[in-house]
Each structure stands twice: as structure tokens, then as C-alpha cells.
């Protein structure tokens, strides 16, 4: 969750910089200067805290990743440059985990987008009992992931679980790789569809009713209204939702930890990091993995922000009225 809020801030920040860029050259009057100074002073405490709690760990991780640093052999600590990166990136387990993580991310985000859109449309269209529908739909998101993961585990446990029994006896689905991954994705999707739906619903509210009526008059059927008018108009909201969910999904940990503990090659990059850093006490390798995850997430965010640029949420805002 913390990463999500970080990202939202950086997106907004990028936007603000772009907008103020044009005005930057204007010579400021005394009053404006004082105002700007006051503004900086007002945000300073928050900015300093932010840098301290996010900037410092990042720098420290990078520094750790450049060391040979295993707590079991503290006397062997030394600066080794990029050696750790070589070790991790040439390791099969890392790439397996990377593949698994990517697979889970892509598949679950696709499902979440489709189902979330469906749910958003239902919530948007519901006329009676709107509040109730929304509340009920949001329940999965309100449940602590670990708790939900445990209930999924029991449900799929052979012999005792109500879902496992649907698939016949002696299956032990969580101990087979493909079914286990499917169950992990299911748990992930179940939990975050409401979040997706909420974000998309905000986007749906951006589509003026008149626009859909106009499309109906122009001869569009329901599907055409959806694909040719609704989706393009709410594209910025869709991109925000996708960005949040992709970043979040890429850091998947709790569901896997509870459901399979990474057995049968189902562990994610975050699981691998945890295993090395906390269980294996190898700070150097763990930090390297953490930095690699950070870089991947940064790349994903960068690509999305680039997409935002072309979707230009600000540029066609006016036409909506």
C-alpha cells in the first residue's frame, strides 16, 4: 500500500512540474516570491519526513547490494561492486520467480480490469440499493490479505476444504504448480477487483450522460457505446487503475506466503527477497534483489507515465462539458 501512495504522489508531481514549466520563466513579483517561499516552507516538514523514510532506505539498500554481507559470516563482509547483481541475474531461481511474478501480474491485472469494469458498471448503473451493492462489493477489499489467504488455504486444503472437495479427493491442488498458481491468482483477483472497480467507477463518473445518449442517437448499440465512447473518455482513469494494480501485483507476497510458501516454484521476486534477506540473513543478495524489484517497478511506472502523456488527461478535459 505504501508503494501505491508513493506512486500516486510521483505521478501528480510530474504533472505539476509539466504545467508550471511554461510559467517558470515569468519574473515573479515580490508578493509571488514571498508566497512561493511560504509554500516551500509549508511543505518542507512533510518533504523531509518523506525523504527520510523513503530516500534513506533506498540509498542504504543500494549500498548493501554492493557488499558481500552475510550475517552468518559477518567477518567476510567486503565491498564487491556489482558482483551480487551478477550472482542474482545468473541464477535460475531468480528468473523463475521473475517469470512467475510477471505471469501472476499480467494474468491477475487482466482479470481484475475486466471484472472490475463489470463491477463498476453494475455499481454505476444500479438504481435501487446502490449503497448496499457498493458496500457488499467492497467487502473483499476490506479483509486483511493474510486472513483472506488463510481462508483460501483452508478452503483448498485436501480433505477439509469445501472448494477442494469440488475437485475430487486426493488432489492436493496447492501442491501442484499450475493449480497452485491459479489459486494464487484467484485469491489476488478476488481481493482486488473491488479496488479496481472503485477506481474505474470514478472514471465512469467522468463520462457525461449526454455523450452516451448522443452515441445512442448516432446509431451506436450498447457495445459500441462502451468501446467507442466510454472507454476512450475514461482512458486516463483506466490507466491510473492499471498502474496502481500492476505495481501492487508485481510486489505480491502475502497470498503466496500463506498459500504455498513458494513451494513448487511458485515464489515471487518478493518471496525470494524475503527468503534471502530475512530467512537466509544474506543482506547483500537480499538487498540486490530489492533494488532489482525497485528498478522493475520504476520501469513499469515510467512506461505508464509515458502512456499518460499521450492520453493527456488534461488536454481534452474541456471538451467534456
Amino acid at each position: 500500500m505504501s508503494m501505491q501512495s508513493d506512486m500516486s504522489q510521483s505521478v501528480i508531481g510530474a504533472d505539476a512540474v509539466k504545467r508550471s514549466g511554461g510559467r517558470g520563466k515569468v519574473v515573479l513579483s515580490e508578493g509571488k516570491k514571498a508566497e512561493r517561499k511560504l509554500g516551500l516552507m509549508l511543505i518542507a516538514p512533510a518533504a523531509i519526513v518523506m525523504v527520510a523514510v523513503t530516500g534513506w532506505p533506498i540509498i542504504y539498500s543500494v549500498w548493501l547490494s554492493l557488499q558481500r554481507f552475510d550475517l552468518r559470516f559477518p567477518e567476510k563482509q567486503a565491498f564487491v561492486g556489482l558482483e551480487n547483481y551478477g550472482t542474482v541475474l545468473s541464477n535460475g531461481y531468480w528468473w523463475t520467480a521473475f517469470g512467475v511474478t510477471s505471469l501472476i501480474t499480467v494474468v491477475s491485472v487482466v482479470f481484475e480490469l475486466v471484472l472490475g469494469m463489470g463491477l463498476a458498471l453494475i455499481m454505476h448503473r444500479t438504481l435501487v440499493g446502490r449503497g448496499l451493492v457498493r458496500t457488499v462489493a467492497l467487502i473483499p477489499y476490506g479483509i486483511v490479505t493474510v486472513v483472506a489467504a488463510f481462508s483460501w488455504r483452508y478452503a483448498w486444503t485436501d480433505g477439509t476444504g469445501y472448494l477442494a472437495s469440488l475437485f475430487g479427493q486426493d488432489q492436493a491442488l496447492l501442491t501442484q504448480r499450475v493449480p497452485a498458481l491459479a489459486i494464487i491468482i484467484l485469491a489476488e483477483v478476488w481481493k482486488t477487483v473491488p479496488f479496481m472497480a472503485l477506481l474505474l467507477m470514478a472514471g465512469l463518473a467522468l463520462v457525461p450522460e449526454d455523450l452516451l445518449k448522443a452515441a445512442a442517437m448516432d446509431g451506436a448499440n450498447g457495445w459500441q457505446r462502451f468501446t467507442k465512447v466510454m472507454i476512450p473518455v475514461m482512458k486516463p482513469a483506466i490507466l491510473v487503475a492499471l498502474l496502481f494494480r500492476t505495481l501492487d501485483a508485481f510486489r505480491i507476497f502475502d497470498n503466496i506466503f500463506i498459500l504455498t510458501s513458494g513451494a513448487q516454484n511458485t515464489s515471487s521476486v518478493s518471496m525470494q527477497t524475503y527468503n534471502n534477506l530475512i530467512k537466509g540473513l544474506n543482506l547483500g543478495i537480499g538487498a540486490t534483489m530489492a533494488v532489482l524489484i525497485f528498478i522493475t517497478v520504476a520501469i513499469i511506472a515510467f512506461v505508464f507515465v509515458k502512456l499518460f502523456g499521450t492520453a493527456a488527461p488534461g488536454s481534452d478535459q474541456e471538451g467534456r462539458r
Binding site: 438504481l127 455523450l211 445518449k213 445512442a216 448516432d218 446509431g219 459500441q224 467507442k228 481534452d316 478535459q317
Partner: protein, 394 residues
């Protein structure tokens, strides 16, 4: 092109609100018809039912002789222009206008030709590749019209298409809408709450109040022969003057004057079975400065003397405003009209009177003037039902 018939059409919204009740309108092929009335009277609802955007609760809607109640908007072959224009923000002007044709799977060459033709008519050619967000209000309005005309529909529906434009542009667009309709000859249903638009644009005007049609007719006819107090007060600007009056022994007594009734009016009143207390209505232009009239003309009406409150010189003539002592006329219709224009909140004492007199009049601000009015042009209304007791039509 086709005629549109509304046969006892009623709309009740799911929340129980009765928005339109038993509306009967026959719109001829190629006719330009205006729906007018105060806010909330059901104009948009009626239009949306014709469009197919709202279900019809009861009654029948026929387009070109076929019942279309159950048809989806896209199967009715009708185009609509919205008050908000409803342009697709992610498409260029060209794509916006081409959208209905693309949906209808028209081939590229034809789309190109039709869009260019429409752009030509609407003077949009140099804006075809711009986005709606970068256009002015008037240009957006024209794009919305363009999107409606490209596919040559059976009819156009317009819901207050000009109300987002500033006054000058509105006048300009009004004439171009009128010209466009004449040029295309397509049936048009046009909603407005601006009675000037209603008077100037349409072949016929439908005046609505509270979901009920009050009167249908040519603009001049509604002006001359309003069937009730509401239509009389709604049509015309400045609006008709209303005063309480009493009928007694063939004379009409009001705070203006004591007026012997003309034979024509006496006859109408007899057949209408008029009550004793009535509301008298006089249009501003039926007044004149008595100083400018000869005796013969004076004899055809009555005069009153009052102090000129406000004098507006319009060049061609003058508006002189008076405040008469006495109670204002009261009725449900008048209260509603006042609420619609917002004048209900303005505290007034006495009766406000607006007169239009010749520019040659010597009347001066703050001084008293003798004003004459035409006895035969007076209209009388029943205060309880609002019915026009001097209604000579149909």
C-alpha cells in the same frame, strides 16, 4: 423525412413523477415545431421520448405512420442536438461528424463527401482536424449540428441548442438554424424556454405547462389568441399586462379605467359564461399616448392618467412604465410565470404596467401622461381556471 404523431403520450418516471401527461401533437412532414414552456414543464422529456431515450409510459408515438414506441433510438432514424452539444472529446471535428456514418457502415468516399458537404454548409471546413476542446462555443454548436445533418435523418430534435451561447451569437445562430431547416426541409422539433426563439423560429409552437400542452398554433396566432392566461403571459416580450377587473352591466371596471365593452367582446363573454370578477389583459402595444390621437380614435378606447416611472426610448417607439394603485391580479398561472422569470422575489406594491407608445410622444419621465388603450384589444380571463373568456379561435 416523415411526420411525427404523439397520441396521448404520457410519461411517468420510476420515482412516480408525472412529467408529461396526455400529449397530443401532430407534426407534419418538414414542419419546424417548437416546444416551449418554463423550466420543468416536460419539454426535454417529450423530446427524449420522441428520440427513444426515454420509454413512453402510455400512449403511442408514430413516425411516418409506424408505431415506434418499442424501437431503440438507432432504429428511429432521428438525429438530436443536445444543449451540452455532447461532442466526443477524443475525436476530431471530422471524426465527430463522421461517427454516425461510420456506425452505419457507409463507405469511406461517401463519408468523406458528406462530412465535407456538411462542413461547407456550417462553415467548419478549416476546423475539421481540431478537437472539440479547442473550439469556441459557437463552433462546437455547429459541429453538433453537423453531426446531426450528415446522415440526412427523418427528423431533427434539438434540446435548447443555443442556450449556452452568448446573446449575440444566439441571435446569429437562430437565423442560421432557421435557414438550415428551410434548406434541408427536414422535420424539426426544437425545445427552448426562450419565447423569442419560439416566436421567431417555428412554423408552429407548442406551449407546455406542468407536463400538459396548453395550446398549439402558429406563433402569431398564439400571440393574438391565447387560449388561457398562461399562454397569454408566456408569449410576448414585454409580456401582457394583467389587472384585476369587474364585469358589471356591460362595463369593465378596473384601476385603469371604466370601459364600455365592445359588441364583439360582449358576445364572446356571453357565450363563455363569464364570472363577475375577471383578470383583464392588455398587450403593451395596445396603449398609445392620448395626446397623439384624434377624437375618433379616442372614442374606440379609454384613457387613464398616470405618472411615468421609467421611460425607455427604443428609437422606433418608447416603453413607458407606470405603477397603478390597487391589488395585483392573482392566479396560479401568473404566480408560476412570475416564478419562472424570477420576478416572484422582487417586492412590488401596486400594479406594474408596461406600455409601448409612439416615439413622437411628449411623455416625460416623472411627469404625468394621459394614456389611451384600445377597448377591442382587451382580453379577459377567468381567474380560477385561467381560461380566456374572450377567446375567438376554433
Amino acid at each position: 423525412m416523415a411526420e411525427i404523431v404523439l397520441d396521448k403520450v404520457t410519461k411517468r418516471y420510476p420515482d412516480g413523477a408525472l412529467a408529461v401527461s396526455d400529449v397530443d401533437i401532430e407534426i407534419a412532414d418538414g414542419e419546424f415545431i417548437i416546444l416551449v414552456g418554463p423550466s420543468g414543464c416536460g419539454k426535454s422529456t417529450t423530446l427524449n421520448m420522441i428520440a427513444g431515450l426515454e420509454d413512453i409510459t402510455s400512449g403511442e408515438l408514430r413516425i411516418g405512420g409506424n408505431r415506434v414506441n418499442e424501437r431503440a433510438p438507432k432504429d428511429r432514424d432521428i438525429a438530436m442536438v443536445f444543449q451540452s452539444y455532447a461532442l466526443y472529446p477524443h475525436m476530431t471535428v471530422r471524426e465527430n461528424m463522421a461517427f454516425p456514418l461510420r456506425l452505419a457502415k457507409v463507405d469511406n468516399a461517401t463519408v468523406e463527401r458528406k462530412v465535407n458537404d456538411a462542413a461547407e454548409i456550417l462553415d467548419l471546413t478549416q476546423h475539421l482536424d481540431r478537437r472539440p476542446a479547442n473550439l469556441s462555443g459557437g463552433q462546437r454548436q455547429r459541429v453538433a449540428m453537423g453531426r446531426a445533418i450528415v446522415r440526412s435523418p427523418k427528423a431533427f430534435l434539438m434540446d435548447e441548442p443555443l442556450s449556452n451561447l452568448d446573446a449575440k451569437l444566439r441571435v446569429q445562430m437562430r437565423t442560421s438554424v432557421s435557414r438550415l431547416q428551410k434548406q434541408l426541409g427536414t422535420t424539426m422539433v426544437y425545445v427552448t424556454h426562450d419565447q423569442v426563439e419560439a416566436m421567431t423560429l417555428g412554423d408552429r409552437v407548442v406551449v407546455m405547462r406542468g407536463g400538459v400542452v396548453q395550446q398549439i398554433g402558429a406563433p402569431q396566432y398564439l400571440y393574438d389568441h391565447p387560449s388561457n392566461l398562461f399562454v397569454a403571459g408566456f408569449i410576448g416580450s414585454p409580456s401582457m399586462n394583467f389587472l384585476p377587473a369587474t364585469l358589471e352591466d356591460g362595463t369593465l371596471r378596473s384601476s385603469l379605467a371604466e370601459l364600455p365593452l365592445t359588441d364583439r367582446i360582449r358576445k364572446l363573454l356571453e357565450s363563455a359564461d363569464a364570472p363577475r370578477e375577471v383578470i383583464m389583459g392588455v398587450r403593451p402595444e395596445h396603449f398609445e399616448d392620448a395626446a397623439l390621437l384624434d377624437d375618433a380614435s379616442r372614442a374606440r378606447g379609454a384613457t387613464f392618467t398616470g405618472q411615468v416611472d421609467v421611460l425607455e426610448s427604443m428609437g422606433s417607439d418608447k416603453y413607458a412604465y407606470f405603477t397603478l394603485s390597487g391589488e395585483q391580479a392573482t392566479s396560479a398561472e401568473l404566480a408560476e410565470l412570475a416564478a419562472d422569470v424570477g420576478s416572484a422575489d422582487v417586492p412590488t406594491s401596486g400594479i406594474q404596467l408596461v406600455t409601448r407608445i409612439s416615439a413622437a410622444s411628449p411623455a416625460r419621465l416623472g411627469q404625468s401622461a394621459e394614456i389611451w388603450f384600445d377597448a377591442d384589444k382587451v382580453q379577459l380571463f377567468d381567474p380560477s381556471s385561467g381560461r380566456n373568456l374572450t377567446f375567438a379561435g376554433e
